[in-house]
Amino acid sequence: MTALLEVEDLTARFDTDEGIVTAVDGLSYRVEAGETFGVVGESGAGKSVAARAVLGLIDDPGRIERGEVRFKGEDLLSMDESELRSVRGDRIALVFQDARAALNPVYTVGEQIAETVEHHLECDPEVARDRTIRLLDRVGIPDADARYSDYPHELSGGMCQRATIAMALSCEPDLIVADEPTSALDVTVEARILDLLADLTDEFGVAVQLVSHDLGVIAGTCDRAMVMYAGEAVETAAIEELYYDPKHPYTAGLMSAIPRVGDGRDRLPTIPGTTPDPIDVPSGCRFHPRCPFAEEACTRRNPSLVDPETGEPATIGTDRAAACLEYTDGLEGGLDYSVEIDGATGEHAERGGDCDG
């Protein structure tokens, strides 16, 4: 069984003044039809590059060094431009972080959506316009008829994001790659947009690759997720396993660093240091300078993604994988952390109840 999207050994490099940056290094993952797949990581993890690479949208000075991006079994990276264009916007659509910047300021929002519809569905302008207005209405833009002729600067950030979601949906794609779609928005708007995305994935049966730095956003929307660090995947798991039983020290550290309402902690546990300089990544395990469990071996050997139970190398079909030497070589000290699930969910249950009151 091939998944809807299979990315294998994807490696993307950028030539910069300071040297070559390997933004994505040997990345493999899959997205199943209809599922929402999360990609989490901090800045510099390579998650946005990975998102764009799916559509072959890496511009100079970047290039895709090797790897395959198989969409329904066909490698997008070996397609020619015109074949690729017939996939872009039609079968796979992209949603950007800054929706307003992703819209051309000198054309109306409606025109731009209708343009996509006209191009891919080869229909009359009138038909495209009708379809656009229905889409705008579907994504919750009030008074869609009038908004059709609004320019991007006349809409709020949330409305712009709704419009680009309508644009992404316009040709009923199989996959939407959403790159930090809510990071620039207020929480209240974010919550609305995430609700909308969840509704639409149900309604249209579209799969979503959701890229975000926010573990809260990923938890609420995704079926499975992948954690990235310094250009590599460090952990992949079904969403509940990832949050309740993280296998990689970075995943665990990231989760504990988020302040939670009602947790009463005076100090936040932190991950010391910062994400590594992409020009000069640490030897061995890239996380070792910041990892509380790092041992001598970690500075020498780069752990590969393996099934944490068996230590077998992970393949694209593996559901649970982590890249830490603990699972292949065994660390002397082991990984010593625990996740308190009860306390956490207890909090939510309590607050959830209050909200209803």
Binding site: E42, S43, I133, D137, P142, D143, A144, D145, A146, S156, G157, G158, D186, V187, T188, V189, E190, A191, R192, D195, H213, D214, L215, G216, V217, I218, A219, G220, I239, E240, Y243, Y244, G253, L254, M255, A257, I258, P259, R260, V261, G262, R265, D266, R267, L268, P269, T270, I271, P272, T274, T275, A344, T345, H348, R351, G352, D354, C355, D356, G357
Partner: protein
């Protein structure tokens, strides 16, 4: 609130309005548009505490912080520091106070001169205020860098050579240089990654303990605010709608706006079900803020008029319909389907209007149903303005008529919402209000 003797900063009735009048012709024609970014805010910052100010973008929190330090000239109100009103001081006198009142920006890079080294950036305030020069200055700078978790050798680097978190540390070191009493932190961690954000938050709390600093901490992220603040003020459209000790603000009873903000936080827990209230739209324009309670255009708990027996959910729908009818000139835009109303049968039109605004097929209250049906029929005729007028006169919430005062629930916990008025009846969700 509280005892004024221990306050290090006291803000009273602060207003910051500015003019967004559109050039010469507008002024010639006497058209003026005043943006009421901050519209009458009081607060008091006590020694050693952190006051969190939270709200969506556009609520005026940054303008508030800047006008409180007179980085922006306030329009009205007073800011007391050491017994003197900053708004009344001349620039040289103000400078003296500025030493005690420092500001840390969201993006430190934009506030740092790219041609100065880290050492110069941190040392500049020392020189400006005549605190240290020469070798003494350099030594003090290196100490400060260490205090904020940077290396002494970093003094020779340029701002762009630092990572986001390090730059924020630099911004903090600069603020600390003059040994201030108060630091106003304007979204200091919102541009940072989660792991780095935690480092900076911890650093700020260590510094507070060590130097006895007081913070005004501005953020849009309630999780961060809850973590750092001793007291919290929730801001909406230029006003505080709720304030009090952190625990009381983050626990019921809530202001409906606080409640909505809280329920919007995405929890990093897959089993957590997002429920509770949802907020539509964005903060309205501060040029002509809504009448009565400024939140009434979005409030999910809006108080229904006592004349009708309607729930606040239904009332919300009716109010949304009223607002839409007021705004648009096209009757089609108020339906879920957007067919030309005059060409759709009345029942279909009526149904789709109700669907769009989440209203039941018949309102439970006969009078209300009568008024609504008449308005929808008017809309069906394409007379939008007339329909808006009908709705306006039939359905006016007390929330549109009264500007809620701040009701004090516990000591220091105040909520500006009519639901906490003595005249409010929980059971029927109505407010016994006299004619305005």
């Amino acid at each position: 609130m509280g005892d004024s003797t221990e306050s290090v900063l006291r803000v009273e009735g602060l207003k910051a309005h500015y003019d967004s009048t559109d050039g010469f012709l507008d002024r010639l024609l006497g058209r003026s548009r005043t943006v009421r970014a901050v519209d009458g805010v009081d607060f008091e910052l006590r020694e050693g505490e952190t006051l969190g100010i939270v709200g969506e973008s556009g609520c005026g929190k940054t303008t508030l912080a800047r006008s409180a330090l007179r980085l922006i000239e306030p329009t009205a109100g007073s800011v007391y520091h050491r017994g003197e009103d900053l708004t009344a001081l001349s620039s040289p006198d103000l400078r003296d106070h500025r030493r005690d009142l420092q500001y840390v920006f969201q993006d430190p890079l934009s506030s740092l001169n790219p041609r100065l080294t880290a050492g110069d950036v941190v040392g500049e305030p020392l020189e400006v205020h005549g605190l240290a020069t020469g070798a003494e200055r350099d030594e003090r700078v290196r100490e400060l860098l260490e205090t904020v978790g940077l290396k002494r050798s970093h003094a020779n680097r340029y701002p762009h050579e630092f990572s986001g978190g390090q730059r924020q540390r630099l911004g903090i070191a600069r603020a600390l240089a003059v040994d201030p009493e108060v630091i106003v932190c304007d979204e200091p961690v919102s541009a940072l990654d989660a792991s780095v954000q935690a480092q900076i938050l911890n650093l700020l709390s260590e510094l507070q303990a060590e130097f006895g600093l007081s913070y005004v901490f501005i953020a849009h992220d309630l999780r961060v605010i809850e973590h750092v603040a001793d007291r919290v003020a929730v801001m909406y459209l230029g006003e505080f709608v709720e304030r009090g000790p952190t625990e009381t603000v983050f626990e019921p009873p809530y202001h409906p706006y606080t409640e909505a903000l809280l329920s919007a936080i995405p929890e990093p827990d897959p089993q957590w079900e997002r429920d509770g209230v949802r907020l539509d739209g964005t903060v309205p324009s501060p040029i002509d803020p809504p009448s009565g309670c400024r939140f009434h255009t979005r409030c999910p708990r809006i108080v229904p008029d006592a004349d009708y027996d309607l729930s606040s959910e239904v009332w919300r729908g009716v109010t949304d319909l009223t607002l839409r009818a007021r705004e648009t000139d096209d009757a089609a835009s108020v339906t879920a389907t957007r067919a030309d109303p005059t060409e759709t049968p009345w029942e279909t039109f009526d149904g789709s209007v109700r669907e769009e605004f989440g209203l039941p097929g018949t309102l439970p209250d006969a009078d209300a149903e009568g008024a609504l049906a008449e308005a929808i029929a008017t809309l069906h005729d394409g007379r939008v303005e007339a329909a808006a007028a009908l709705l306006d006169s039939a359905f006016t919430s007390p929330c549109e008529r009264h500007h809620p005062a701040e009701y004090e629930l516990d000591t220091g916990h105040g909520i500006a919402c009519l639901r906490y008025d003595d005249g409010f009846d929980e059971e029927s969700e109505t407010l016994a209000d006299g004619p305005e």
